[in-house]
């Protein structure tokens, strides 16, 4: 977790409170990835946003078919825990955001769509949105891994962001900013998810430019994306 620090803060000055961005890592990473590979702390400081970086290992931010209940942990327990312990965080939907890359882009989309009463904005970087592809077209050695996460068949109402986006009532829709590099293997499903959101009339923007599925791209994009989160410079 990173908290913005007051540059010239001394005792007696009034309390500062910050909105919260829950920022999710990708496959093979853990909670340390964003800290190690980007300048997230500086961006948090620039925009006065607290950033909470949890880990759900390789669990795709789901309540796994066989495994841990990661979705419940991230969606319900983590926000409750941080608000219990920290007095410097703003509460409420308009001050709660999600973001993530790759697997974490999927996770952030699920949080924004399934808990849209809790989160108002989502930053989705190079997300992996097509769960059917993961489950049914995975290489042989990966089949069991994805079945452990999603079960035998996709449960569209809890696992498929395309389906969830269709169903979500208009007044609860989050604002979404999507990014994907043109040399990213996930480009096609990013375009498809964006077109779906656009067709459904979501407040969504999509930026596609030269870039790959790598940290150069994510560092640059998280930097510009955080300008949209309502903090002030």
């Amino acid at each position: 977790m990173v908290l913005p620090e007051k540059a010239r803060g001394r005792v007696g000055l009034e309390r500062e409170e910050y909105p919260v961005l829950y920022l999710l890592h990708g496959m093979s990473d853990n909670q340390s990835a964003w800290m190690r590979r980007t300048n997230i702390e500086r961006y948090a400081m620039d925009h006065k946003i607290a950033v909470v970086m949890p880990s759900t290992h390789l669990g795709w931010y789901t309540d796994m078919a066989r495994g841990f209940r990661y979705f419940t942990y991230i969606a319900d327990e983590i926000p409750q825990t941080v608000h219990r312990m920290f007095s410097c965080l703003k509460q409420g939907r308009e001050h709660s955001f999600v973001g993530g890359l790759s697997m974490g882009g999927y996770g952030a989309a699920m949080l924004a769509l399934r808990r849209s009463d809790c989160f108002s904005k989502a930053i989705l970087l190079s997300g992996a949105y097509d769960i059917y592809k993961r489950l049914h077209q995975a290489p042989k050695q990966r089949k069991k891994y994805f079945a452990n996460i999603f079960g035998k068949e996709v449960d569209a109402s809890t696992q498929d962001p395309f389906c969830l986006a269709e169903k979500l009532e208009e007044r609860l829709r989050p604002e979404i900013w999507m990014y994907c590099g043109r040399d990213d293997g996930l480009l096609e499903e990013n375009r498809r998810f964006y077109e779906t959101l656009l067709r459904l009339d979501y407040s969504v923007s999509y930026e596609e430019d030269a870039g790959k599925h790598d940290w150069d791209f994510w560092d640059a994009k998280i930097k510009s994306a955080m300008q949209h989160l309502g903090g002030k410079r």
Partner: protein, 249 residues
């Protein structure tokens, strides 16, 4: 129970400092904050903010008694503003104490703030607690004395022959407002190398506190080591018998 390892910039010290916080988050289970006190716990010479986490069961004792424990790093300062070095006294008393409740939902204000420590940190707790009785209602110091003759503490960097008045514990104690004496709990092992120093301090403080003041002194089995401090800290926290929440508010 949460153990928070934190790095935060200190304006006073002009650098990033490490600290640990033990925060029993089960205290929030009923939808309101049931924490009863915040203890600022100071490490000894040679140590840093990790000492109590590594060498005692502080997290359990904090949870059992519903208190938050903040463990800062005081380096080799004796918790003074050093003659040649960092202003650690000012950092703890002016910056840290104000900063913690702004970040964490922990109790604050004199009646709910305790300062405690071992060895150099015990002396530091005595110093800070007596110098700022407006911040702390209780001082707990273990295995220390006002005069600690040891080369483990670099006194030559901390104070000069001529300029020590601001941090002279005896002077501070003599001038303290007798109406607002913080309660002092002092304990030391019978085999501790600072036993004589502790006894002298007891005599001196007893005089200041008189019959009315709440000053407690105890000697028990043990040396200048973590066996003793683990037991002593636990015993002290248990003995606080913090009031039920209803009595507090």
């Amino acid at each position: 129970m949460a153990w928070i390892q934190m790095t935060s910039f200190s304006e006073v010290l002009g650098m990033d400092v490490d600290l640990n916080v033990c925060l029993p988050n089960s205290a929030f289970d009923k939808g309101e904050n049931m924490l009863l006190a915040s203890m600022y716990l100071l490490h000894g010479a040679q140590g840093n903010c990790d000492d109590f986490i590594r060498r005692t069961g502080i997290e359990r004792y904090a949870k059992e008694n519903n208190i938050a424990v903040v463990m800062p790093s005081g380096y080799l300062s004796a918790y003074q503003d050093m003659a040649f070095g960092s202003n650690v006294y000012s950092y703890i008393s002016e910056e840290l104490i104000g900063q913690m409740p702004k970040i964490f939902r922990i109790p604050f204000g004199r009646e709910q703030q305790i300062i405690a420590g071992i060895s150099m940190g015990g002396r530091g707790a005595l110093l800070i607690g007596l110098k700022r009785p407006d911040l702390f209602s209780k001082i707990a110091c273990f295995s220390c004395g006002i005069d600690m003759q040891t080369n483990l503490i670099p006194w030559d960097l901390i104070r000069t022959e001529t300029d020590n008045a601001d941090f002279d514990i005896r002077q501070i104690a003599r001038n303290i407002d007798k109406e607002h004496l913080p309660e002092i709990y002092m304990q030391i092992g019978k085999d501790d190398m600072f036993l004589e120093s502790a006894r002298e301090s007891q005599k001196f403080l007893k005089k200041i506190y008189g019959e009315k003041g709440r000053f407690f002194y105890g000697e028990s089995d043990g040396g200048h080591d973590w066996d003793f401090w683990d037991r002593a800290i636990r015993g002290y926290i248990d003995s606080l018998q913090l009031p039920k929440r209803n009595d507090l508010y």
